[in-house]
Point group: C2
Chain length 314, copies 2
């Protein structure tokens, strides 16, 4: 890339909120971040219907029209078969074709994973891709994976996931080259948990990773380890439970300044929106998934994070 501006491919259609709210987020992002270029993938019907919103776009923004788009409740396998000309599929293909450095979508997670696997080459050690996110923690952040790409893991998959996490963590966190790795479980003792985590624990104890053993849910925000691994079902639910709790604690607007002050004092920020933008790992290309229900502000945060990923990950 060197002298070229990094290109972010965005599937504008994916997400629960109005695509125009994401378009506003993109425009305001580009006002500040002039060192990026954005290729926007938009359903042609939507583009025609909302053409006035696509007039006078910033110079570093291009629109590519697609035949289809994928709804949030659509079957990923059906989408994969019938909608290769969708905004999501085309945006991912742009990364595969080296026309973009990263793809960002707030769309259907299953379809995102399916198309990413279809267009991008697998990148060892894992067989199926994993979604990862950096959790705010005190005294240090933690990379949690998988948070929803692959719902069920065998012991050897968890082992490979730990290897993958340990490989990527030094690029994302200031943790040095031997990140501490832990497996998420219902207790820290080696006798705890079901067969799968028990077997994975034994495999990891004999690995060359800096493996700490099991950790519990309480450890996620405590900087217990640099990398914490679990299957996508558990990771997704644990993360969303925390987001739900954080949202409840922000319910009443007048109290927000307290919380801001609180977070300032604690050197941490538990506003889940600030941590929007999970990374799909295990593929030869940068794929970022924003929250399905991202509003304008959330999507803006996801864009900021996407830009950070480009800078950090080679």
């Amino acid at each position: 890339m060197n002298d070229k501006k990094p290109v972010i491919a965005i599937d504008l259609m994916g997400g629960d909120d109005d695509p125009l709210s994401r378009l506003r987020a993109i425009k305001s992002f580009l006002l500040k971040e002039k060192s990026f270029k954005i290729n926007l993938f938009v359903n042609q019907d939507f583009y025609k219907y909302q053409s006035k919103h696509f007039a006078n776009l910033p110079a570093n923004m291009a629109v590519i029209q697609s035949e289809h788009s994928i709804s949030m409740d659509e079957s990923p396998l059906v989408a994969l078969r019938k909608k290769r000309n969708s905004s999501l599929s085309m945006a991912i293909k742009a990364v595969a074709d080296n026309q973009a450095d990263v793809i960002l979508s707030a769309g259907n997670s299953g379809a995102l994973v399916a198309f990413a696997k279809y267009w991008l080459k697998p990148n060892a050690p894992i067989e199926r891709p994993a979604l990862a996110t950096v959790l705010p923690g005190f005294p240090k952040p933690t990379l949690l994976l998988d948070i929803g790409a692959t719902l069920e893991y065998r012991a050897e998959d968890l082992y490979a996931l730990a290897e993958l996490g340990a490989e990527i963590a030094p690029q994302l966190l200031a943790c040095g080259n031997h990140p501490e790795v832990a497996l998420l479980n219902v207790g820290t003792e080696h006798i705890k948990g079901h067969d799968t985590v028990q077997q994975a624990d034994r495999l990891l104890q004999n690995s060359e990773l800096n493996y700490l053993g099991f950790c519990e849910g309480t450890h996620l925000f405590k900087g217990y380890a640099d990398v914490i691994c679990c299957d996508g079902f558990v990771g997704n639910i644990a993360l969303k439970a925390c987001e739900g709790l954080a949202q409840q604690l922000q319910l009443k607007q007048p109290l927000n300044w307290w919380q801001k002050l609180f977070c300032q004092f604690n050197d941490v920020n538990f506003n889940p929106a600030q941590y929007n933008g999970a990374l799909l790992l295990g593929l030869d290309g940068l794929v970022v998934k924003a929250h399905g229900n991202s509003n304008e502000s959330d999507f803006h945060h996801a864009l900021i994070r996407t830009a950070e990923y480009i800078k950090k990950i080679n």
Copy 2:
């Protein structure tokens, strides 16, 4: 019982903290709650060594000495085979023998479940017991189960768990006789999730329960449903993740009064200690599990909750 005081059997030895901190919690509980009787199960060596702390006990408190106690990292199956004369086992047996109305322990969860299954008769509809807790929520609380008794469920087990939750919820919550039930998953759409939750969803759709469908982690504290069901692995990790987050938000002591005020304004209290004391369901006897790491104050809260369970559950 009628004119008799309800009896709480307590395994004093179980837990990470010093047993004497739990003893202090029990004494201060009894100072306020004179309408209960406590039977305390204590390892004989500990009793001898700390005899001065067992002098001058309140009149409504009795000590029963045991031969063994069970450590937190002990194998439940080994404990079950070798330690039937442990404080935990004897305290649970007291409920089975109608000498106590409820057993409370902060001890080894696996051993608690193992001895509870051994001494107490199963109580349909579920095959294996489930741990349940009431989550603070806004606008209403939610009964979450399983939070760690049974780590893996088949679809038909999740179905039975939903039936059990719907049966007990009216006694624990002000939710009427047809509680809303949901299954915890990675998305609300019927296509989401792995095979087990997919099958359980189909079973529940054809049931007579007031079944809402899937819910996500974000819904746990939002009063989305009266009852939310998941396997014990997921429930334990999701709950502990939220507890960890809540603990982080209380890290710095000087800020506590803000949070208290915050909670007061929001009609909710997210202090996890206040929600200490999970209920083991599916057995013919009242079994309450306090957090393993309960300190004096946490254990006091668990006692208060145990007393509430006796009043609410017949």
